[in-house]
């Protein structure tokens, strides 16, 4: 245990995300990873096989929910910080993107990147400002930020104030007309979903991810272990904000308009938390399972004449039951129930 030996330089390179050898997987490698990818691929191609537009619309919403929930999971599930107003990144990204498209004629793709960049920048600034707050104080601050941005944009003439921004339908011609545009944006969201799931998996099994998990478990102890907690938290927040920012642009582009009320809906924010909780926070599969289940359930409730008016109340009841009886979510519950599946259900 002699201490003066310097680290061997060549070997010290962190192999980053996929350094799975560190966590003994025994005979089968990456089962959880391939399970997640497989599920998304199957789900993502359903609209192609069925050739149905309504399936495409359903899967669009599900994939979007999966990627939003997976993004939130990085700060909520891995790092243990309750970002209650996470939708602010979705809304801000959407606004920046639509502004660039409508006012400056940017293409969807560069505008989407700028939306992600704007969201990431906001998270970086917020990271410096509010991530030193713990527990309920941080949750409250994120609500405050969402409301502050919403009310500000409500007054911000450049972004259309309370009316918002609208896309001229002629713009869709550049993307092969409205029908092709819908497929195009569908594949974009599909790609983003794959990206965020791979990213979540990579983070979870990286050195950086271990630092985040340590912060979740005991932030002061993590600091004493040597985790640079302020920067680790900030980067987790930034990573969890970028994809929502990009998605905001794609969603509102497809939607053809954006307005403050729908862009910064606090309710949507909390629905995302419910999805993460339902599936199992801190696991890679959790947001995937949770978001799919929640969206499917919601569309069932919305279309069923019996539950239509009460869908919100049912969602609330579901949330209460999860919090009271299965706080670790579906995946967490399965993991503790079937120890053999521990490595499959990451």
């Amino acid at each position: 245990m002699s201490s003066s030996k310097p680290a061997p330089v060549g070997k010290a390179i962190d192999r980053g995300g996929f350094d799975l050898s560190a966590f003994k997987l025994g005979g089968w490698k990456y089962p959880a990873f391939w399970l997640a990818i497989g599920l998304i691929l199957i789900g993502g191609f359903i609209p192609v096989f069925t050739g149905s537009n309504s399936w495409r619309e359903t899967m669009f919403l599900i994939l979007m929910a999966v990627s939003l929930a997976s993004s939130l999971n990085i700060i909520l599930g891995y790092t243990g910080y309750v970002s209650f107003g996470h939708i602010v990144f979705f809304g801000l990204g959407g606004y920046v993107g639509l502004y660039l498209i409508t006012a400056h004629g940017w293409s969807l793709w560069t505008a989407a990147l700028m939306g992600g960049l704007a969201a990431g920048t906001l998270a970086l600034l917020l990271g410096k400002a509010i991530l030193h707050l713990r527990g309920a104080y941080f949750a409250l601050a994120t609500i405050g930020v969402n409301e502050a941005v919403r009310t500000f944009i409500n007054n911000f003439d450049l972004f259309g104030g309370a009316v918002g921004l609208e896309i001229n339908f002629l713009v869709y011609k550049d993307y092969g007309g409205p029908a092709t545009m819908q497929w195009l944006t569908y594949w974009a969201v599909f790609g983003l979903t794959l990206f965020i799931v791979v990213l979540s998996y990579g983070i979870k099994f990286s050195r950086f991810g271990l630092g985040l998990l340590s912060i979740r478990e005991d932030e002061d102890a993590a600091m004493v272990l040597g985790v640079r907690t302020p920067s680790a938290k900030t980067w987790a927040y930034v990573l969890s904000a970028i994809v929502p920012g990009i998605l905001g642009v794609i969603f509102f582009f497809r939607n053809s308009s954006i307005a403050p009320q729908e862009a910064f809906r606090l309710h949507r924010s909390i629905e995302l938390i419910v999805m993460v909780m339902l599936g199992g926070q801190g696991t890679v599969l959790g947001p995937l399972v949770g978001a799919t289940t929640y969206e499917a359930l919601r569309s069932f409730l919305l279309t069923s004449p019996l539950f239509k008016d009460l869908q919100l109340a049912f969602a609330g009841l579901l949330l209460l039951l999860i919090v009271l009886f299965v706080p670790t979510g579906i995946v967490g519950w399965l993991r503790s129930r079937y120890r053999k599946l521990w490595r499959v259900l990451e």
Partner: protein, 254 residues
């Protein structure tokens, strides 16, 4: 990094005040490389506070802390770690929902050597073996008993391969057999040349492991010397008079 005459850690007039209360007052001492320095004192003497000042949990009010020739006064805990210092907590703080192995890997890869995960795992397994925790590596830390958690706390600190190890009552709450085991562990760490600053109430154990002992009372350093001298020092005995149970331990330890 220059090593000042073999002195690893220097405290110069370190003072810590909380509001009007002085928890640590004007403490000055040197800790040479390779030594095991015992830190004793009655309850509330400011021992743990002093640890928290050294590793940066609390910023000091006045004074200087120099480690490996670097003035690290006012540094954050993670910056202090990067110079090669590790500590254990009196009340153990395992990362409950992570496995034993993950706990120790975290200690190793975030230690001053900045190991990659795979290297960190090798080191972690070695350390777990050393502390008889290897067979529990895939258990959640929350499921360990007190003695095991104490060893885990130790393993996590050791995996950082520190130059200086701060041990805060690693024997408290252990039964006599466990104490004997832990003392062996400390002795073996010492053999490997790691410098140790150790707070301990179990006197006979402390006397066995330390080269030198310093005594803190009401935040002030009241005595310093060889273990044998300290237990007979009238000032030390007086300090312990308010605490008969501890005084008894002190005496029996001599």
């Amino acid at each position: 990094m220059s090593q000042d005459n073999g002195v690893l850690l220097q405290l110069r007039n370190v003072t810590k005040e909380f509001g009007g209360l002085t928890a640590v007052s004007d403490v000055t001492f040197d800790l040479p490389q390779g030594q095991v320095l015992g830190l004793i004192g009655p309850n509330g003497a400011g021992k743990t506070t002093l640890f928290n000042c050294i590793n940066g949990v609390f910023p000091v009010t006045r004074g200087q802390i120099i480690f490996r020739g670097v003035d690290m006064t006012g540094w954050k805990p993670y910056d202090v770690v990067s110079l090669g210092l590790a500590r254990t907590h009196q009340i153990v703080r395992p990362l409950q929902e992570l496995t034993v192995l993950e706990n120790v890997v975290a200690g190793s890869c975030y230690g001053h050597e900045q190991r990659s995960l795979s290297q960190a795992e090798e080191i972690a397994l070695e350390v777990l073996e050393f502390l008889h925790l290897a067979e529990r590596r895939d258990q959640l830390a929350a499921s360990l008993n007190v003695a095991q958690k104490k060893r885990l706390e130790m393993a996590r600190a050791l995996a950082a391969r520190p130059y200086l190890l701060l041990l805060d009552e690693v024997l408290a709450g252990l039964n006599p057999t466990e104490i004997a085991e832990m003392v062996q562990v400390v002795l073996r760490i010492r053999e490997q040349g790691v410098t140790i600053l150790i707070i301990e109430h179990v006197m006979h154990a402390l006397m066995n492991v330390s080269d030198r002992v310093i005594v803190l009372d009401h935040g002030e350093l009241i005595a310093e010397g060889l273990p044998g001298e300290i237990v007979n020092d009238p000032k030390v005995i007086e300090a312990y008079l308010g605490d008969p149970a501890l005084a008894e331990k002190l005496m029996s330890g001599g």
